[in-house]
Protein backbone atom coordinates (compact mmCIF):
# COMPACT_ATOMS: atom_id res chain seq x y z
CA UNK A 1 0.00 0.00 0.00
CA UNK A 2 2.90 2.35 0.59
CA UNK A 3 3.96 2.15 -3.04
CA UNK A 4 2.48 4.97 -5.07
CA UNK A 5 2.84 3.26 -8.41
CA UNK A 6 0.99 0.39 -9.98
CA UNK A 7 3.31 -2.37 -11.09
CA UNK A 8 2.13 -5.08 -13.44
CA UNK A 9 4.77 -7.40 -14.90
CA UNK A 10 7.50 -5.09 -16.26
CA UNK A 11 5.36 -1.95 -16.44
CA UNK A 12 5.02 0.80 -13.85
CA UNK A 13 2.15 3.25 -13.99
CA UNK A 14 1.13 6.16 -11.82
CA UNK A 15 -2.51 5.97 -12.93
CA UNK A 16 -4.69 3.32 -11.37
CA UNK A 17 -7.61 3.86 -13.71
CA UNK A 18 -7.48 1.83 -16.90
CA UNK A 19 -9.88 3.08 -19.53
CA UNK A 20 -11.92 0.77 -21.71
CA UNK A 21 -12.49 2.47 -25.04
CA UNK A 22 -15.76 0.75 -25.98
CA UNK A 23 -18.91 2.79 -26.33
CA UNK A 24 -17.54 6.29 -26.94
CA UNK A 25 -19.55 8.14 -29.58
CA UNK A 26 -16.41 9.22 -31.43
CA UNK A 27 -12.65 9.39 -31.22
CA UNK A 28 -12.60 13.01 -30.04
CA UNK A 29 -14.78 12.22 -27.03
CA UNK A 30 -12.60 9.22 -26.26
CA UNK A 31 -9.49 11.40 -26.35
CA UNK A 32 -11.07 13.96 -24.01
CA UNK A 33 -12.24 11.29 -21.57
CA UNK A 34 -8.84 9.68 -21.66
CA UNK A 35 -7.21 12.95 -20.65
CA UNK A 36 -9.81 13.59 -17.94
CA UNK A 37 -9.26 10.09 -16.56
CA UNK A 38 -5.49 10.60 -16.69
CA UNK A 39 -5.33 7.03 -17.97
CA UNK A 40 -2.03 5.54 -19.04
CA UNK A 41 -3.44 2.31 -20.40
CA UNK A 42 -6.48 1.83 -22.66
CA UNK A 43 -8.09 -1.30 -24.02
CA UNK A 44 -8.55 -1.85 -27.74
CA UNK A 45 -10.25 -4.63 -29.67
CA UNK A 46 -9.82 -6.30 -33.05
CA UNK A 47 -12.55 -6.81 -35.61
CA UNK A 48 -12.71 -7.49 -39.33
CA UNK A 49 -11.17 -4.57 -41.16
CA UNK A 50 -13.74 -2.04 -42.32
CA UNK A 51 -12.38 -0.30 -45.43
CA UNK A 52 -14.81 2.58 -44.82
CA UNK A 53 -13.54 3.27 -41.27
CA UNK A 54 -12.08 6.73 -40.85
CA UNK A 55 -8.96 7.25 -38.75
CA UNK A 56 -7.33 4.67 -36.51
CA UNK A 57 -7.99 4.54 -32.80
CA UNK A 58 -4.26 3.91 -32.43
CA UNK A 59 -3.46 7.38 -33.74
CA UNK A 60 -5.89 8.85 -31.21
CA UNK A 61 -4.39 6.94 -28.29
CA UNK A 62 -0.88 7.81 -29.46
CA UNK A 63 -1.74 11.47 -29.50
CA UNK A 64 -3.07 11.27 -25.95
CA UNK A 65 0.03 9.33 -24.97
CA UNK A 66 -1.47 6.12 -23.58
CA UNK A 67 -0.36 2.53 -24.05
CA UNK A 68 -2.74 -0.01 -25.51
CA UNK A 69 -4.05 -3.14 -23.84
CA UNK A 70 -5.59 -5.33 -26.54
CA UNK A 71 -8.46 -7.58 -25.54
CA UNK A 72 -10.05 -10.76 -26.81
CA UNK A 73 -13.60 -9.49 -26.39
CA UNK A 74 -16.24 -11.63 -28.04
CA UNK A 75 -14.30 -14.91 -27.89
CA UNK A 76 -16.18 -17.94 -26.63
CA UNK A 77 -13.46 -20.58 -26.81
CA UNK A 78 -9.86 -20.82 -25.67
CA UNK A 79 -8.86 -21.47 -29.28
CA UNK A 80 -10.48 -18.27 -30.58
CA UNK A 81 -9.07 -16.26 -27.69
CA UNK A 82 -5.54 -17.55 -28.30
CA UNK A 83 -5.72 -16.78 -32.05
CA UNK A 84 -7.15 -13.32 -31.31
CA UNK A 85 -4.35 -12.66 -28.81
CA UNK A 86 -1.78 -13.69 -31.42
CA UNK A 87 -3.40 -11.36 -33.96
CA UNK A 88 -3.34 -8.59 -31.36
CA UNK A 89 0.36 -9.16 -30.74
CA UNK A 90 0.93 -8.69 -34.47
CA UNK A 91 -1.36 -5.70 -34.82
CA UNK A 92 -0.30 -3.79 -31.70
CA UNK A 93 3.25 -4.99 -31.17
CA UNK A 94 2.63 -5.83 -27.54
CA UNK A 95 2.53 -9.15 -25.74
CA UNK A 96 0.07 -7.77 -23.19
CA UNK A 97 -3.42 -9.17 -23.51
CA UNK A 98 -6.61 -8.62 -21.60
CA UNK A 99 -7.98 -12.12 -21.87
CA UNK A 100 -11.73 -12.45 -22.14
CA UNK A 101 -13.39 -15.79 -22.81
CA UNK A 102 -17.11 -15.42 -22.51
CA UNK A 103 -19.49 -18.26 -21.73
CA UNK A 104 -22.87 -16.71 -22.37
CA UNK A 105 -24.10 -13.82 -24.49
CA UNK A 106 -26.68 -12.49 -22.03
CA UNK A 107 -24.53 -12.31 -18.91
CA UNK A 108 -21.16 -12.04 -20.68
CA UNK A 109 -19.78 -13.98 -17.73
CA UNK A 110 -16.41 -15.67 -18.19
CA UNK A 111 -16.21 -19.36 -19.09
CA UNK A 112 -13.91 -20.57 -16.32
CA UNK A 113 -12.77 -23.75 -18.07
CA UNK A 114 -11.91 -22.09 -21.38
CA UNK A 115 -10.41 -19.09 -19.58
CA UNK A 116 -7.85 -21.09 -17.62
CA UNK A 117 -6.95 -23.15 -20.70
CA UNK A 118 -6.41 -20.01 -22.79
CA UNK A 119 -4.47 -18.27 -20.01
CA UNK A 120 -2.10 -21.20 -19.64
CA UNK A 121 -1.46 -21.43 -23.38
CA UNK A 122 -0.86 -17.69 -23.73
CA UNK A 123 1.50 -17.55 -20.75
CA UNK A 124 3.47 -20.42 -22.30
CA UNK A 125 3.55 -18.46 -25.57
CA UNK A 126 5.18 -15.49 -23.80
CA UNK A 127 2.15 -13.26 -23.30
CA UNK A 128 1.59 -11.01 -20.32
CA UNK A 129 -1.92 -12.17 -19.49
CA UNK A 130 -4.52 -10.10 -17.63
CA UNK A 131 -7.63 -12.27 -17.43
CA UNK A 132 -11.16 -10.99 -16.97
CA UNK A 133 -12.58 -13.37 -14.39
CA UNK A 134 -15.52 -13.86 -12.07
CA UNK A 135 -15.25 -12.94 -8.38
CA UNK A 136 -14.52 -16.59 -7.56
CA UNK A 137 -11.41 -16.71 -5.31
CA UNK A 138 -10.54 -20.25 -6.43
CA UNK A 139 -10.63 -19.31 -10.10
CA UNK A 140 -8.51 -16.24 -9.38
CA UNK A 141 -5.95 -18.46 -7.69
CA UNK A 142 -5.94 -20.90 -10.61
CA UNK A 143 -5.28 -18.03 -13.01
CA UNK A 144 -2.43 -16.80 -10.85
CA UNK A 145 -1.06 -20.34 -10.65
CA UNK A 146 -0.83 -20.65 -14.43
CA UNK A 147 1.21 -17.43 -14.54
CA UNK A 148 -1.18 -14.54 -15.17
CA UNK A 149 0.39 -11.14 -14.47
CA UNK A 150 -2.76 -9.85 -12.76
CA UNK A 151 -6.33 -10.96 -12.17
CA UNK A 152 -9.31 -8.87 -13.18
CA UNK A 153 -12.42 -9.92 -11.30
CA UNK A 154 -15.78 -8.43 -12.12
CA UNK A 155 -17.82 -6.46 -9.60
CA UNK A 156 -20.96 -7.32 -11.59
CA UNK A 157 -21.64 -8.13 -15.26
CA UNK A 158 -20.05 -6.04 -18.02
CA UNK A 159 -21.94 -2.82 -18.66
CA UNK A 160 -24.48 -3.54 -15.91
CA UNK A 161 -23.45 -0.63 -13.69
CA UNK A 162 -24.40 -2.76 -10.69
CA UNK A 163 -21.20 -1.99 -8.81
CA UNK A 164 -19.54 -4.56 -6.58
CA UNK A 165 -22.20 -7.17 -5.84
CA UNK A 166 -20.05 -9.40 -3.68
CA UNK A 167 -17.45 -7.37 -1.80
CA UNK A 168 -16.79 -10.37 0.46
CA UNK A 169 -15.63 -12.57 -2.42
CA UNK A 170 -13.58 -9.70 -3.80
CA UNK A 171 -11.97 -9.25 -0.37
CA UNK A 172 -11.02 -12.92 -0.27
CA UNK A 173 -9.39 -12.61 -3.70
CA UNK A 174 -7.53 -9.52 -2.49
CA UNK A 175 -6.33 -11.13 0.72
CA UNK A 176 -4.86 -14.09 -1.11
CA UNK A 177 -3.64 -12.71 -4.43
CA UNK A 178 0.06 -12.51 -5.11
CA UNK A 179 -0.47 -10.48 -8.29
CA UNK A 180 -2.22 -7.15 -8.82
CA UNK A 181 -6.02 -7.26 -8.69
CA UNK A 182 -7.91 -4.99 -11.06
CA UNK A 183 -11.66 -4.57 -10.77
CA UNK A 184 -12.78 -5.08 -14.33
CA UNK A 185 -16.52 -4.75 -14.74
CA UNK A 186 -19.65 -3.44 -13.13
CA UNK A 187 -18.57 0.05 -12.12
CA UNK A 188 -21.53 2.39 -12.51
CA UNK A 189 -20.24 5.56 -10.93
CA UNK A 190 -17.39 7.05 -8.92
CA UNK A 191 -18.39 5.51 -5.57
CA UNK A 192 -18.12 1.99 -7.04
CA UNK A 193 -14.54 2.73 -8.09
CA UNK A 194 -13.81 4.18 -4.65
CA UNK A 195 -15.17 1.06 -2.96
CA UNK A 196 -13.00 -1.18 -5.14
CA UNK A 197 -9.92 0.73 -4.07
CA UNK A 198 -11.02 0.86 -0.41
CA UNK A 199 -11.29 -2.92 -0.48
CA UNK A 200 -7.69 -3.03 -1.66
CA UNK A 201 -7.85 -3.34 -5.44
CA UNK A 202 -4.70 -2.20 -7.21
CA UNK A 203 -6.59 -0.57 -10.06
CA UNK A 204 -9.98 -0.23 -11.73
CA UNK A 205 -10.85 -0.79 -15.36
CA UNK A 206 -13.80 1.18 -16.51
CA UNK A 207 -15.50 1.55 -19.90
CA UNK A 208 -19.30 1.82 -20.03
CA UNK A 209 -19.68 3.86 -16.83
CA UNK A 210 -17.66 6.56 -18.56
CA UNK A 211 -18.41 6.12 -22.25
CA UNK A 212 -22.16 5.80 -21.76
CA UNK A 213 -22.52 8.46 -19.07
CA UNK A 214 -24.51 11.57 -19.96
CA UNK A 215 -21.25 13.53 -19.78
CA UNK A 216 -18.42 11.05 -20.37
CA UNK A 217 -15.63 13.56 -19.80
CA UNK A 218 -17.02 14.70 -16.44
CA UNK A 219 -17.57 11.07 -15.41
CA UNK A 220 -14.02 10.16 -16.41
CA UNK A 221 -12.78 12.87 -14.07
CA UNK A 222 -15.16 11.81 -11.29
CA UNK A 223 -14.14 8.17 -11.49
CA UNK A 224 -10.47 9.14 -11.49
CA UNK A 225 -11.10 11.04 -8.25
CA UNK A 226 -13.06 8.06 -6.90
CA UNK A 227 -10.10 5.78 -7.54
CA UNK A 228 -7.74 8.24 -5.87
CA UNK A 229 -10.04 8.80 -2.89
CA UNK A 230 -10.58 5.08 -2.39
CA UNK A 231 -6.89 4.36 -2.55
CA UNK A 232 -6.09 7.10 -0.06
CA UNK A 233 -8.86 5.95 2.29
CA UNK A 234 -7.54 2.40 2.12
CA UNK A 235 -4.11 3.62 3.12
CA UNK A 236 -5.56 5.78 5.88
CA UNK A 237 -7.26 2.78 7.51
CA UNK A 238 -11.00 2.99 8.01
CA UNK A 239 -12.59 2.58 11.42
CA UNK A 240 -14.23 -0.77 12.15
CA UNK A 241 -17.96 -1.09 11.69
CA UNK A 242 -19.89 -1.46 14.95
CA UNK A 243 -23.56 -1.91 15.68
CA UNK A 244 -23.80 0.66 18.48
CA UNK A 245 -22.77 4.27 18.64
CA UNK A 246 -19.46 5.40 20.01
CA UNK A 247 -19.53 9.05 21.14
CA UNK A 248 -16.94 11.23 19.50
CA UNK A 249 -17.28 13.88 22.23
CA UNK A 250 -15.82 12.83 25.62
CA UNK A 251 -18.32 12.28 28.43
CA UNK A 252 -15.81 13.25 31.07
CA UNK A 253 -16.23 16.85 32.29
CA UNK A 254 -19.94 17.09 31.51
CA UNK A 255 -21.50 19.85 33.70
CA UNK A 256 -24.33 18.78 35.99
CA UNK A 257 -27.73 20.50 35.63
CA UNK A 258 -29.65 18.00 37.69
CA UNK A 259 -30.63 19.71 40.98
CA UNK A 260 -32.37 17.51 43.62
CA UNK A 261 -33.27 14.97 41.06
CA UNK A 262 -35.28 17.45 38.94
CA UNK A 263 -34.04 17.93 35.45
CA UNK A 264 -33.75 21.52 34.31
CA UNK A 265 -33.05 22.69 30.84
CA UNK A 266 -30.46 25.37 30.24
CA UNK A 267 -31.97 28.68 29.09
CA UNK A 268 -35.39 28.17 30.63
Amino acid sequence: MSDEHLRIADRTMSSRLILGTGGFANHELLAQACRAAEAELCTVALRRLDPAARGSILDVLDEVGVAVLPNTAGCYTARDAVTTAQLAREAFETDWIKLEVIGDDRTLLPDAVELVAAAEELVDDGFTVLPYTTDDPVLARRLEDVGCAAVMPLGSPIGSGMGICNPYNLSIILERAGVPVILDAGVGTASDAALAMELGCDAVLCASAISRAHDPVAMAHAIKLGVQAGRQARGAGRIPRRRYAQASTPEEGMPAFDVQGVSQSVGQ
Partner: protein, 68 residues
Protein backbone atom coordinates in the same frame (compact mmCIF):
# COMPACT_ATOMS: atom_id res chain seq x y z
CA UNK B 1 -9.08 -19.17 -57.72
CA UNK B 2 -11.77 -18.73 -55.10
CA UNK B 3 -10.97 -17.65 -51.58
CA UNK B 4 -12.89 -16.14 -48.65
CA UNK B 5 -11.85 -12.79 -47.21
CA UNK B 6 -13.51 -11.67 -44.00
CA UNK B 7 -16.43 -13.97 -44.72
CA UNK B 8 -16.93 -12.82 -48.32
CA UNK B 9 -16.22 -14.91 -51.41
CA UNK B 10 -13.52 -13.39 -53.62
CA UNK B 11 -11.82 -14.40 -56.80
CA UNK B 12 -8.08 -13.82 -57.06
CA UNK B 13 -5.34 -14.84 -59.49
CA UNK B 14 -3.62 -18.12 -58.92
CA UNK B 15 -0.59 -17.65 -56.68
CA UNK B 16 -1.96 -14.48 -55.07
CA UNK B 17 -0.29 -13.57 -51.78
CA UNK B 18 -1.62 -12.40 -48.43
CA UNK B 19 -0.13 -9.00 -49.28
CA UNK B 20 -2.28 -8.74 -52.42
CA UNK B 21 -5.43 -9.42 -50.39
CA UNK B 22 -4.52 -6.75 -47.86
CA UNK B 23 -3.94 -4.35 -50.74
CA UNK B 24 -7.30 -5.31 -52.22
CA UNK B 25 -8.94 -4.00 -49.01
CA UNK B 26 -7.37 -0.57 -49.55
CA UNK B 27 -5.09 -0.88 -46.55
CA UNK B 28 -2.28 1.64 -46.84
CA UNK B 29 1.18 0.06 -46.80
CA UNK B 30 2.45 0.16 -43.24
CA UNK B 31 -1.03 0.82 -41.84
CA UNK B 32 -1.03 0.31 -38.09
CA UNK B 33 -3.15 -2.04 -36.07
CA UNK B 34 -3.77 -4.53 -38.87
CA UNK B 35 -3.20 -8.28 -38.63
CA UNK B 36 -3.96 -11.29 -40.78
CA UNK B 37 -4.90 -14.89 -40.14
CA UNK B 38 -4.81 -17.48 -42.94
CA UNK B 39 -6.87 -20.60 -42.29
CA UNK B 40 -6.84 -19.81 -38.57
CA UNK B 41 -3.11 -19.20 -38.27
CA UNK B 42 -1.59 -15.77 -37.80
CA UNK B 43 0.66 -14.60 -40.64
CA UNK B 44 3.15 -12.02 -39.41
CA UNK B 45 3.44 -8.85 -41.45
CA UNK B 46 6.94 -9.73 -42.61
CA UNK B 47 5.56 -12.82 -44.32
CA UNK B 48 2.54 -11.28 -46.08
CA UNK B 49 4.33 -10.94 -49.43
CA UNK B 50 5.79 -14.42 -49.50
CA UNK B 51 2.73 -16.28 -48.20
CA UNK B 52 0.71 -17.63 -51.11
CA UNK B 53 -2.97 -18.45 -50.98
CA UNK B 54 -4.55 -21.56 -52.36
CA UNK B 55 -8.00 -22.55 -53.57
CA UNK B 56 -10.47 -22.23 -50.71
CA UNK B 57 -8.15 -20.19 -48.46
CA UNK B 58 -9.89 -18.43 -45.61
CA UNK B 59 -8.34 -15.06 -44.90
CA UNK B 60 -9.24 -12.84 -41.94
CA UNK B 61 -7.93 -9.29 -41.99
CA UNK B 62 -8.54 -7.49 -38.71
CA UNK B 63 -7.96 -3.98 -37.47
CA UNK B 64 -8.06 -2.03 -34.22
CA UNK B 65 -11.41 -0.74 -33.05
CA UNK B 66 -12.74 0.73 -29.81
CA UNK B 67 -13.65 -1.93 -27.30
CA UNK B 68 -13.30 -3.39 -23.84
Amino acid sequence: MNITVNGEAREVEAGASVASVVEMLDVAPGARGVAVALDGEVVSRGRWAETQLSEGSMVEVVAAIQGG
